[in-house]
Amino acid sequence: MHELGVTESIAGIVLRHARMNGAKRVLKVNIKLGELTGIVDHYVAFYWDMVTKDTVAEGAELNFIKVPTMARCARCEEDFHIQEYDLTCPRCGEIASDIVSGREFLVESIEIE
């Protein structure tokens, strides 16, 4: 729902790093996106062209690296992919797992020329 604001934040980060590195053009932006964030990547891509118009990032490809929601069982330490947000450990049945990934949302790297 707030993909526009989020896209502006991404553009801010990308343009700052592009400037710091004297980029003439940004070719690609690698974004880590956790499943649990609820951010819809194609909406971000949709706003991206609008937000970066007339900047060095105009036309840059957005590459989303999806991070699955993983949990670790507090009892048997099994790591498992959460299906339907069920934290029940598939190995021992304990329901006391901690979510260890899936909340990521970061600009990992950019490719510039």
Partner: protein, 225 residues
């Protein structure tokens, strides 16, 4: 040329949220981020909570709305300090808005600040405000299937208040199903069943919240000695 960035998209918000958190902590104030969809009963729960904790805790309220001060006026009639934030179309509160609101609240004179977030089951969950407690409401007419459709808020809240229990039996809301779904997602969440209309169940919620605020105060006292 590849450039490593490793910068979180929410980093700017989270930095301010940490500053807010420190501000609340240093004044011994428990900040509660109260989230729910529109019409779930956020303002009603705030008002009922103020009534039940009157004379027990010093409470301030931050009202977040996209527009209007309808809710703030209602809360103000309870005789507590209220700050209204109008987000001007933004679908959630963020840490910077709270920072600005805090200029208008005397934290030294408060034990508990209830922040009523914008009515929305999605976006508020992604923006930390610097709260010590994340609370959410689900109301019976919304249905027991909401946790699976809006998982982040249900996964991240420390307490879930199920409101409008006076309407149980009028639809197909299944409380057992709701509890088991939520507890599979968030095993440590505290769940209260209440009706802000009849008052049923509210005392347990208020007692629990008072206890959390007192623990928070105790933490500050111990930290300062």
């Amino acid at each position: 040329m590849d450039i490593e960035v490793l910068e979180g998209v929410f980093d700017a918000n989270e930095k301010i949220a940490r500053e807010n958190e420190e501000l609340f902590r240093s004044r011994g104030v428990l900040a509660v981020n109260l989230m729910a969809s529109p019409g779930a009963g956020k303002t009603s729960l705030v008002i009922r909570t103020l009534e039940l904790l009157r004379g027990k805790l010093r409470i301030g309220v931050i009202e977040g709305d996209i527009a209007s001060s309808v809710d703030a006026e209602k809360v103000k009639s309870q005789g507590v300090p209220v700050v209204q934030i109008n987000t001007g179309g933004v679908c959630h509160l963020d840490a910077a808005m709270i920072r600005q609101a805090l200029d208008h609240l005397d934290l030294a004179a408060l034990d508990l600040v209830i922040i009523e977030n914008v009515g929305n089951l999605v976006c508020p969950a992604e923006f930390k405000l610097g709260e010590g407690l994340r609370a959410m409401i689900l109301s019976v007419p919304e249905g027991h299937d909401k946790p699976l459709k809006y998982p982040l808020m249900f996964s991240d809240s420390q307490v879930l208040v199920v409101n409008k229990t006076d309407l149980l039996g009028m639809g197909d809301f299944d409380m057992d199903e709701l509890r088991s779904t939520v507890l599979r997602m968030n095993p440590r969440v505290a769940i209260f069943e209440v009706s802000c209309r009849t008052g049923e169940g509210l005392q347990d919620w208020a007692d629990w919240l008072e206890e959390r605020a007192r623990e928070n105060l105790k933490g500050v006292d111990e930290g300062s000695t």
